[in-house]
């Protein structure tokens, strides 16, 4: 037994001494290069994962036996033409640069159907589609009257008028419709002769529920909002004061005066007062904590009141939008970055670095013209658009949380909406009455595909869970849908080789 043990020890030790370096070399991407110039070379890899999975992979002219999701290993540094194909889908083609010891990651490739699945849901003509993001509802408008407006449940396909034609309000002209993300309720301002009404309208199983708020909301009330999970309270600004309206009891409570702007998130109020201090409060008006660690520094003059809308995406991501589309971040300054075509980054101009925030002392993140924001929770970033360009706002690590804007599309024409698609790998953009799908790769737009024309003057709606785009046909005004994402079928789910995805965008 002693000799057996000695022999076994020698064998195992030899195996370890030989295999360990080889395994480590392979782990780091080193490979033995055959041929005349034999030697150890550094290699890279390409990681591919598609939706739907099971696509065939071609590297140059070589076809790989494995289908997606897969990892192509042992690639010598250089550029490779990668093509991914699946019957019934458009091929995905890229020229990929492989670097030594690096991985080129494409883990959210969305294969686009060769023929889009489109469906006409309701005949027109509708003049406008009003999305209710985060809900299963849309609002469709046929005319200017209240009875010309419909709720549409895209899950069931049911449509219900906001009011019956026989209702005394049916012929009231709709002046404006206020909505809140995640809430199917509408705050509708109606113009009746010599008067103005305010209605709260919610869809329900049978017919919409209406509640008359006329008289409760003062004429000058602005920035009216509510918590989508709590319809009991409405919050609004009135002459610089933050006011809360309790609907069941119809009582009005003054929460705070001297307010420039406020936002609501997760049952907390984020309030910017006249001194430039940004604080968090509860719905009763009790102060919880200052949002910025250091309040506005001494000596800072109080700025002139400038109305601001505070958009809170998360406890760490908060933006202030001015009336002229200027965008501010409340933390220690921010920076605007412009991506060069080569992919390198250049600092454009540093923004105000100070202790805390003042609406006058600090320079904005974006100076003007911001039309909208779309939050992407997965990577804690937001899409922002102006009329002709689209960018991504990313926040740095605590405690500084510096925000940066990276413009990814600069040749837009008339951008009015943007939605994140497919695990933030794409952006669906409403540009110049067309729905366009932008593929993002490494923070840049790699491809743009125009999907459908959209009725001028109307918005479209998109639900990423269902992967369906809702829009109005340009000519007939019919409500149509287009399926962008394949149905998530459990049977076809396949595990990627890598169980955790990379942190960055493709």
């Amino acid at each position: 037994m002693r000799r057996v043990r000695q022999l076994a020890f020698i064998v195992f030790a030899a195996v370890y001494l030989v295999s360990c370096p080889l395994v480590l070399l392979q782990a780091f991407g080193y490979s033995l290069k055959p041929g005349a110039e034999q030697g150890i070379v550094k290699t890279g890899l390409i990681s591919l994962a598609t939706t739907p999975p099971g696509a065939t992979v071609y590297l140059g002219k070589r076809r790989y036996t494995k289908t997606t999701p897969t990892i192509l290993r042992g690639l010598l540094p250089g550029t490779y033409d990668v093509r991914v194909g699946l019957p019934g889908y458009q091929p995905w083609v890229r020229t990929v640069t492989v670097e030594a010891e690096k991985s080129a990651v494409f883990e959210r490739i969305l294969l686009l159907p060769a023929a889009w699945k489109q469906e006409r849901l309701l005949p027109g003509p509708f003049q406008e589609l009003l999305p209710l993001p985060g809900t299963r509802w849309l609002v469709l408008r046929r005319g200017p009257m209240l009875s010309d407006h419909w709720f549409y449940d895209w899950k069931t396909g049911d449509a219900q008028r906001l009011v019956a034609p026989a209702s005394p309000l049916a012929e009231a002209r709709v002046l404006s419709i206020g909505t809140v993300n995640g809430s199917p309720a509408l705050l509708v301002r109606l113009g009746v002769p010599a008067d103005e009404w305010v209605l709260w309208i919610e869809p329900s199983a049978d017919e919409p529920r209406l509640e008359d708020l006329t008289g409760l909301l003062p004429p000058g009330a602005r920035h009216i909002t509510w918590d989508p999970l709590d319809r009991r309270h409405l919050l609004f600004l009135q002459d610089g004061a933050l006011v809360r309206l309790h609907l069941p009891s119809q009582t009005v409570t003054l929460l705070l005066e001297g307010v420039q702007g406020f936002g609501l998130f997760d049952r907390a109020l984020y309030v910017l007062n006249d001194t430039g201090t940004l604080v968090q409060m509860d719905l009763e008006g009790k102060l919880r904590r200052p949002v910025v660690d250091k309040p506005a520094g001494k000596g800072t003059r109080a700025s002139a009141r400038r109305p601001l809308e505070i958009t809170v995406f998360s406890k760490e991501a908060l933006l202030l939008l001015g009336a002229h589309g200027e965008l501010f971040t409340p933390y220690h300054g921010g920076e605007e970055w412009r991506g060069r075509p080569e992919g390198s980054l250049q600092r454009r101009r540093p923004l105000g670095r100070g202790t805390g925030f003042t609406s006058r002392a600090a320079a904005p993140l974006i100076g003007h013209g911001v039309l909208g924001l779309a939050w992407e929770a997965r990577h804690q970033r937001a899409a922002v658009w102006q009329k002709d360009r689209l960018g991504l706002i990313e926040w740095g690590e605590p405690p500084e949380r510096d925000a940066r804007v990276r413009w990814v599309l600069e040749k837009g024409r008339r951008i009015t909406q943007a939605f994140w698609v497919h695990e933030s790998s794409h952006l669906l953009v409403h540009d110049d009455d067309e729905a366009k799908l932008l593929e993002l790769t490494r923070g840049r737009v790699a491809a743009v595909q125009t999907l459908v024309p959209v009725r001028p003057g109307s918005a479209f709606a998109y639900d990423d869970d269902a992967g369906i785009l809702f829009y109005l046909e340009p000519s007939a005004g019919a409500l149509c849908s287009m399926t962008l994402l394949p149905r998530r079928d459990l049977l076809s789910f396949s595990f990627q080789e890598r169980t955790t995805s990379s942190g960055g965008s493709p």
Partner: protein, 576 residues
Amino acid sequence: MNFRFSPHLTTGRDRVLHRLFSILPGLASWTILLGMIGLAVGKPRLAAALVIAFNLYWLLRLLFMTLFLVLSYLRLSLEQDTDWMERVRGLDRLDPYLTALRRSAAGRSLRGRLSRWLHLRELQRVRAQEPLPPSETIVHLVLIPIMKESRHILAPGLASLARQTFPPKRILVVLAVEERASDAVKADVRELQRRYRAVFLDLLVVVHPDGLPGEARVKGANATYAAKAAAALLAERGIRVEDVVASCFDADTVVDPQYVACLTYRFLTCPERTRASFQPIPVYHNNIWDVPSFARVLDIGSSFFQLIEATDPERLVTFSSHSMSFAALVETGYWPVDMISDDSAIFWKAFIRFDGRYRVVPLPITVSMDITAAESWWKTVGHVYRQKRRWAWGVENFPVVMRAFVTSRTIPLSARLRHGFKLFETNVSWATWGFLLTVIGWLPALLVGREFSDSVLYYSAPRITATIFGLASISLATTIILSLSLLPKRPVRWSSLTRIGHALEWLLIPIISTCFSALPALDAQTRLMLGGSLEFRVSEKGRRREDDRRDTAGADGGAAYAVDELELAGEDWRGS
């Protein structure tokens, strides 16, 4: 080499050396663990590379150990049906026995044939030795230290000794009771003495006084006191210590009927028999079906470890119930009276005493003991943890042994290096491997930042690790198969589903190895490093009786037990 084998009797340079070597194992373990954590945070790539290298090393070592586990198990099973007493008698008339053996039929089974072949080979070697002493001169001394074990724990062990194929009349049994034991325990012991005295050469009850100077409250002190009493009795009866084989058994030990005969055979055929200890394979079958699965898996693992160790006699150390030459025990000065790990300490003490000319001979036979258990699951968790920590406290030998090695001029350097390294490495790996494999090894992947998520390593490391663990499942499967083969016959009340569960409980190994192996070891080493100590606590043992009542140590006493209880205990043992 004359050396005071004690962690307490040190002054001057010895104290410094002792303190230094006390710190070393714990320092190494903590350095490895914290160092890996620090690397995972600061240098994740380097940490990932080290993890891969370690995992590969672990895999090869695991496969290596599995290979020898299988070989050792085969060796054990080869001798399963061996009539050791016949072999002992054969030694008394070696030549005729050898001739008859050669002429006899080889037998039908492969196992029988292999056993016979090995036996013949050994007899050839023995024949070349100097003449063996007659087997009738060999006397066995069995010491059983008792603190709070009731007769229900003690009786099966005594019954198993009474059933030995070796004549019980040549076995001297000493029940070594602590003075501080309860009256109930003492009454039980007296009752057992009354019952079994006539079976053996004698059955002494020796009460170890409490608080003797220089002694700690440890089992070794009790055993030493009893051994000295036995030595006096043996001297009275004119029995030479060279003819005596001493066995120190835990109170719950139940031995195979062939144990003493096997031990006698090995003793007689051992070159330099008075310079050897004899180590059986400990199994924990007495109450294996009555304990939680984690406790069962742990102690089966301990048995497997001993099986593997048995294949390396040159570095084997005594553990738990074992035997040794009484002459060596006397010359060594008996067990240390101030150390908890008396089972391993006595080996080192003898090794040092005899200048490295001392070894452990593995015995291809099992002794069965109890798995630590308590009334409730959580209490069992606590008891098991403390027991494993006590086992890990064997690290207390390291500073003592190394102090001797450093100062010795007579122990061969190669032996010092070999044993010293193994002692150090065994303890450090015991305390670190569980954490490295189950927790720390995954930190680089978890903590790696976005800056590394585009590296080849980020994608390669998980695949390599998965492959390594996939290959390690070969070892796991082998272990499961062997464990099922080694286990005693199940009580008929268990369903097939329960049996499947018994196989699947090995999947708990990652958690068990960390919480009940690595953690107690780290605990023990840390205490030693910080200059602390451990209190000797008798492990609670519990067996389910036929009436499904659990008997724990210290339970009822006084009432006489019926013969059928004795028979039942024997049946339980025979089934194991």
